[in-house]
Symmetry: C2
Subunit: 349 residues, 2 copies
Amino acid sequence: MSTVRKAYVRPLDLKNGRVDMTHGSGGRAMAQLIDELFATSFDNEWLRQGNDGALLPTAPGRLVMATDAHVVSPLFFPGGDIGCLAVHGTINDVAMLGATPLYLAASFILEEGFPLADLARIVASMASAARDAGVPVVTGDTKVVERGHGDGVFITTTGVGSVADGVRVSGDRARPGDAILVSGTLGDHGVAIMSLRENLGFATVVESDTAALHGLVAALLAVEPDLHVLRDPTRGGLATTLNEIARQSGVGMLIEEARLPLREAVSAACELLGLDPLYVANEGKLICICAAASADAVLAAMRAHPLGRDAARIGTVIDDAQHFVQMETAFGGRRIVDWLNGEQLPRIC
Amino acid sequence: MSTVRKAYVRPLDLKNGRVDMTHGSGGRAMAQLIDELFATSFDNEWLRQGNDGALLPTAPGRLVMATDAHVVSPLFFPGGDIGCLAVHGTINDVAMLGATPLYLAASFILEEGFPLADLARIVASMASAARDAGVPVVTGDTKVVERGHGDGVFITTTGVGSVADGVRVSGDRARPGDAILVSGTLGDHGVAIMSLRENLGFATVVESDTAALHGLVAALLAVEPDLHVLRDPTRGGLATTLNEIARQSGVGMLIEEARLPLREAVSAACELLGLDPLYVANEGKLICICAAASADAVLAAMRAHPLGRDAARIGTVIDDAQHFVQMETAFGGRRIVDWLNGEQLPRIC
């Protein structure tokens, strides 16, 4: 993104204007979009370099890199929009390796005809999320596709972070006996999107939990630097994420239904929509697996953090050659909690 | 991307299968796509970690980060396809800051119904380009959008690299008196795409010049560590890129039409299509601006490299408060070479 200001014949019409093919041409119209919207909103010393990439200070420690495309529909939803979601989602993927997120790159695929006012609102939301998280958007790219070949806006963000010595968080480190914790209520994001899509008029609007979790991760690492696994249960929800970890670590898991934190409104909406909250996406929650001996301290640290107030210890890692995730139901039975099969919630993030 | 192998009921049908919404669900179908296509093709130790991000060795020196969305249409063209283009494009953005590219992240937005055989061909091309360049794809993401809300496949790649001490390449370092070099013939990529789109049946097929330029950059830095500016003239072509640099450095430029390297077939196609080759995209060429004293040595190093055989010294940086790029035409006149206005070549990369 070039950020050197220049005078254009007319300022960008951020109120009534629309994206057209020239905004992706590489020419003057694109330069104007970058100058008057992206560079202004994301402003920082790296973006101001005005090159096709950013030159950044040497990063301390081991590097972490994560990328996520965001295609959520609708673009605006209770509790957030595609802009802040794109910032939070990638920051969280970086943080789930125990890293401190340092920088973000953002790439936009815009559809011809998309209102510039909506784009401006989304970019403002991204910029605000990045500022709040302390993770600047240092470089970017914009492409435009013809009407009917995109869907408003898709945003891919990529994050880079650094990991302190001694931290070895990874999905393959769950061990039998480890405690399984979750940082808060399940399914809020997915239900917020689905309620909107299905036009459900609930008395209580469920808001997306979209949030950047790196501060919470830092708080947990402060009490236990040797956390075994961190992962955010996004697409596929808690059930699929636990199955992923079980497979990766070569273990089984046993969780207790009665301990799963769930908002009443989410529970009611899931019933109405025919969804199982175990499979519904979260965008501001994490699963933490750690040695049983440190579970109480880690849980206390979670609950002391604003994003972990509803945290709970939900189960235990067990020995299981078949890597099943099982659940003790509220009625005292036991059932297998399988991977998500099929597509329950398309374009949830 | 999770890369832990598991048995699926049936292997992915890479011959006759198609992308469906479940491939973006986060569930079992997505895990299978990742396992059987992405992880297999891009295989490397970082991807094999199987987390939502990659944990990488400490990067030496200052960091560089660049990102590019690729929406080229058609997806396959003479000389390449969206896959290798996505690898080359981002490697080049990293290299244009004088950096050694180290890692790539890849994010895919797939359209429901897209043939898996085409996807496999594209992924194979990406993997081969990454291998040839020595820059592994260490992490990725896949999303699926409904039919009619995407266009086959969009690929965003993000690159990270590191810059050696003493290298200070940037678009704001062009100084009056500096030499302007270009590494080879102009407009090959844009003409390759446009000929295909317009279904021109040329006797000579023009191939895209898509290539990774970091090896060439290393060869140039070896003879002159203090290169002032490097930039690849992609969208908007040579003309727009020179205008960007002129604006960023606060200088003017004077180039000579007679010195611009141009294939005859490209020249002929441009005439037929009504295109000015100065504005046509390149994907394997770079502009280099350096002190006049080192221009001969840098030009010789370019010509000694397989990707710089047709390199030429095309002009000089001059003092100009209006930051105009001017060209001495083949007929001895002088004209202003403006920014690209409007959209000459939609979805060229």
